[in-house]
């Protein structure tokens, strides 16, 4: 052991500050507590929500086009609901009736754009009907619920003869129908959308279906409750077998009252097929009991799309509480076992808690909300705060023993000696994460500010309040302090350190990290920007969302829209045959891409109408030759529709329309290829009266986000490392110090990037902040070890001895903090949200790799290369000793 006088002379100001903090402990404590109380109050006001606009780079031209046209042509927030029958086809009365009602319920979900629903059961999905006298009229496919088999057969005929419906809204095998609804971005409420779809759209027609159509709410009186009145009973169903009749009101299920269709479905849903239920049925004034056998499910409903995905993510967000609880309890237990004293468990908790209140309060102040996908971040920051506190507590015990059990001297000495590495660590973490503000995505900007502030808030608890809290707490028993330096843990650290600093150990360490870096550099070439798989990486591949997504993709080819806007230079530009032919050519060109399922544009309507004009002869499915003929054809189709309905195809002045491609997935490399092909086509096919503009829809905005990430990824890495280098430069006043500290960090970074490539984790708006935080957090281990080596060499003057001493003292505390850091994030691997699980696991690996590199590679490098900035401290200490001795003799 060492330190003491020499260090004390260098850090006089810090010793003085430590003394004053204890002297003025009451006012300092009161001020900090008042501010913390205020932030705690603000924290309680926090909400968990996602603002879709904040995830997009608003200055990107694609996003500007998306924002401009999303209200009319549809945005990125679509829900696709697929109804698939288990036997036969969908063209039966009960199934078509359910599709109609499902569409109706979808239209009532909060935030839906009523004019942007596509379904054979929606008023805006029309077909062209030839009437007597040669008139043609565009009519909705289903005006009302079909009642007879003839109605169903007629709908089947219409679907099969309408190019814009068959294969697009009804599958080619007739077994599935698609309901597509676009949501207004400013009215997105993921939790509400999720529950409304579950309760009102899915349950009554899938698990809660008994074979009778129950009346829903009156559209004109949406707030008025509608009792579960039977509207239709279908033949051969469970409801018919139970004797339920039209006009009956179902008032209870197994004695549990039900007030409407959704409650009835919710009451039936938990029971398995074949179970008999007692339904309370009101007929007139009397209430009778009907025995209903829960039927086998005859139809499946699958729902996909961004609002649905976030709905699932929100439904899993409560994972955070059990993870928090288990992490907290395990960490308390570990700290208690390590320090042999409850104060060692409590003190880091106080630091973490105070920093958390300051951080969360700040989140509220800047008007930011927590996204369920960034919940790992607060854990990581809190774990870092706790780690600093563990270092300090360990040092306090060490100083307590050295200062002959004098509490005040130990408090001041631990404060002064650890001030520099703690503050440098906090500064590198805070400034390292701040570089994310360079990416022009609002969410990342806010996140960088919050994370940076939160990390800086650790200073308050760790440096300002720390000496005071120790002073208030009773000093530990000496036997507790001594026990810390005994036992298997200390013995293990001693043994590993001895091996590490032996000749064989040094060579092994250098070769090991060198080989790992080379392998990592080779593997990291596979790292992708954007999502690397077709399933959503936010939830597990066997989650209900990804299962639904895969089913819909299989049946309909593609569900993720890319909207390319055809912007005319003047009104009526969309009636120009050359513009329309180019749009059609564009569709055929991009449909050849393996990841584009199908496409849709104004020209599909035009060709279909032209064909109807000519007795459905396929050869007439072409675009007319003159603008006049085009205008006439449009008039026939759109004349019976209000502008709000036609606006989803073309604006009322016929200036602007769109071509929408439905992609099979949103893999990062596929998006990049599709966008590149679009740009090639646009460059090769200029139009006189219009031009194509990229790009709206989910694919368009993801392309913009990926574009910004590619542009900024390298820059951020460079700035992240640069920031750390500059802070280290000021801390140790040496150009070389940064190289020594950054080398292990750089190798860790390579290994993590390689792991991301191997585990198929792409760089996107969600992963980027976590990965950037990891860069900064890895440096702290090295800072503590480096500072301790310098501190030791000032006393004993021997480099090898100082390295060893640093590793068995600070290195031991570092190893314990690493265990805590790894555990805090590793528990996230049990999360239902795959993204959080993967990021938690990845950060745990990162923290572990950084720790091992700092404990092995850093000391070996220092031992081998004997850096001048460390050795000069030994020379200075030797020069100072005679002076100090002379001064002592004179006094």
């Amino acid at each position: 052991m060492s330190s003491g006088t020499t260090g004390g002379q260098d850090k006089r100001a810090l010793y003085w500050l430590g003394e004053r903090l204890i002297d003025y402990r009451h006012p300092v404590m009161i001020v900090v507590l008042i501010i913390t109380g205020y932030f705690a109050y603000l924290s309680s006001q926090l909400k968990l929500e996602t603002s879709f606009g904040d995830l997009l780079p608003q200055s990107h031209p694609f996003v500007q086009i998306h924002n401009k046209y999303a209200p009319t042509f549809g945005g990125a927030n679509n829900i696709q609901l697929m109804v698939e029958v288990r036997d036969g086809d969908i063209f039966t009365v009960p199934t078509l009736a359910r599709i109609y009602r499902i569409t109706e319920e979808m239209d009532r979900v909060y935030g839906v754009n009523h004019n942007q629903i596509d379904s054979i059961g929606h008023r805006t999905t029309r077909y062209l009907r030839a009437q007597s006298g040669g008139f043609l009229k565009a009519e909705p496919v289903m005006l009302s619920v079909p009642k007879t088999a003839d109605d169903a057969a007629q709908i089947k005929r219409i679907v099969h003869n309408t190019e814009s419906i068959y294969g697009i809204l009804v599958s080619l095998d007739d077994r599935a129908a698609l309901v597509r609804a676009n949501f207004i971005e400013s009215r997105l409420d993921h939790r509400r959308t999720f529950s409304e779809i579950n309760e009102n759209v899915i349950a009554p027609f899938q698990e809660g279906w008994i074979g009778a159509m129950i009346k829903g709410r009156d559209p004109l009186k949406p707030d008025q409750n509608a009792p579960a009145v039977v509207d239709t009973v279908y033949r051969g169903t469970a409801a018919a077998d139970a004797g339920i009749k039209v006009g009956d009101t179902i008032v209870s299920v197994n004695g549990k009252p039900v007030g409407n269709r959704a409650e009835l479905a919710a009451a039936i849903k938990p029971f398995k097929p074949g179970i008999e239920l007692s339904l309370g049925v009101q007929r007139g004034e009397a209430v009778e009991t009907a025995k209903l056998m829960v039927p086998e499910r005859d139809m499946d409903i699958f729902v996909a799309g961004e609002p649905r995905l976030y709905g699932w993510v929100y439904s899993y967000a409560s994972d955070v509480f059990w993870i928090l609880t288990v992490t907290y309890c395990l960490e308390w237990l570990l700290r208690w076992m390590y320090f042999h004293d409850w104060r060692g468990a409590l003190r880091p908790t106080l630091t973490g808690l105070i920093a958390a209140f300051w951080g969360l309060g700040f989140v509220h102040i800047i008007g930011f909300a927590l996204d369920p996908l960034i919940l790992v971040m607060p854990f990581l920051i809190t774990a870092r705060a706790v780690s600093h506190a563990i270092q300090m507590h360990d040092r306090y015990y060490e100083e307590f023993e050295r200062h002959k059990w004098n509490q005040r001297e130990a408090i001041v000495a631990s404060f002064a000696e650890l001030f520099v590495p703690t503050f440098s660590g906090i500064a590198t973490d805070a400034l390292g994460v701040l570089v994310i503000i360079l990416v022009p995505i609002r969410m990342l900007f806010n996140l960088a500010l919050v994370a940076s502030w939160w990390i800086l808030a650790i200073t308050v608890a760790e440096l300002l309040l720390n000496p005071i809290v120790y002073y208030y707490l009773r000093a530990p028993d000496p036997e507790v302090v001594l026990a810390r330096d005994r036992g298997w843990y200390k013995a293990l650290i001693n043994r590993v350190t001895d091996w590490n600093l032996s000749g064989t150990g040094k060579i092994t360490v250098l070769v090991f990290w060198g080989v790992l870096a080379i392998i990592g550099a080779y593997l990291m070439r596979g790292l992708i920007v954007g999502d690397p798989t077709s399933a959503s990486p936010l939830v597990w591949s066997d989650s209900p969302y990804n299962v639904s997504h895969a089913h819909i993709q299989d049946k309909f080819g593609g569900v993720e829209p890319l909207i390319v806007v055809a912007e005319g230079h003047d009104r009526d530009a969309m009636k120009d045959p050359q513009v329309l032919r180019t749009m059609e050519k564009f569709q055929r060109f991009l449909e050849r891409d393996r990841d584009v399922g199908y496409s849709f544009s104004l020209t599909d309507i035009l060709r279909a109408v032209n064909m109807v004009f000519h007795e459905l002869e396929p050869k007439w499915g072409v675009i007319p030759n003159t603008s006049r003929d085009v205008a006439q054809t449009f008039f026939i189709f759109f004349s019976g529709s209000p502008p709000t309905e036609t606006a989803k195809y073309v604006d009322p002045s016929y200036t602007t329309a769109h071509v929408t491609f439905f992609a099979r997935n949103h893999k990062g490399d596929n998006i990049a290829r599709i966008i590149k092909r679009c740009q090639e086509f646009m460059a090769a096919n200029p139009m006189d009266k219009a031009e194509f503009k990229l790009a709206g829809g989910l694919i368009g905005v993801l392309a913009a986000a990926n574009d910004e990430l590619v542009r900024n990824d390298l820059l951020m890495n460079f700035l992240g490392f640069g920031t750390i280098y500059i802070i280290v430069l000021f801390t140790y006043r040496s150009w070389a110090a940064g190289v020594y500290l950054l080398a292990p960090l750089f190798i860790s970074n390579i290994i993590i990037n390689a792991a991301m490539a191997v585990l198929a984790i792409g760089v996107n708006v969600n992963t980027l902040p976590l990965v950037t935080v990891g860069v900064g957090f890895g440096i702290d281990y090295g800072l503590y070890i480096m500072s301790r080596i310098i501190e030791e060499i000032r006393v004993n003057g021997d480099l090898e001895l100082s390295i060893r001493e640093a590793l068995v003292t600070s290195g031991k505390a570092v190893s314990f903090t690493a265990v805590c850091m790894v555990m805090s994030t590793a528990l996230w691997t049990f999360s239902n949200i795959r993204f959080n699980a993967v990021m938690g696991g990845l950060l745990a690996v990162w923290m572990f790799v950084s720790f091992v590199a700092s404990e092995t590679l850093l000391p070996v490098m220092i031992s081998y290369f004997r850096p001048a900035f460390i050795l000069r401290e030994a020379a200075r200490a030797r020069a100072r000793q005679p002076v100090a001795a002379t001064a002592a003799a004179v006094s």
Partner: protein, 42 residues
């Protein structure tokens, strides 16, 4: 599990650890005092 259940569990757990720790140390102190008194008695 919700926020308040989580808060209650961690609070109870922390108090539990503190109580157990104090109990263990109190026993050790007593034992030391007894051993010290016995040595003085000799």
């Amino acid at each position: 599990m919700g926020l308040w259940e989580s808060v209650i569990i961690v609070t109870v757990f922390s108090i539990g650890v503190i109580v157990i720790d104090e109990f263990i140390h109190a026993r050790r102190r007593k034992r030391r005092e007894r051993e010290g008194a016995a040595r003085v008695g000799h």
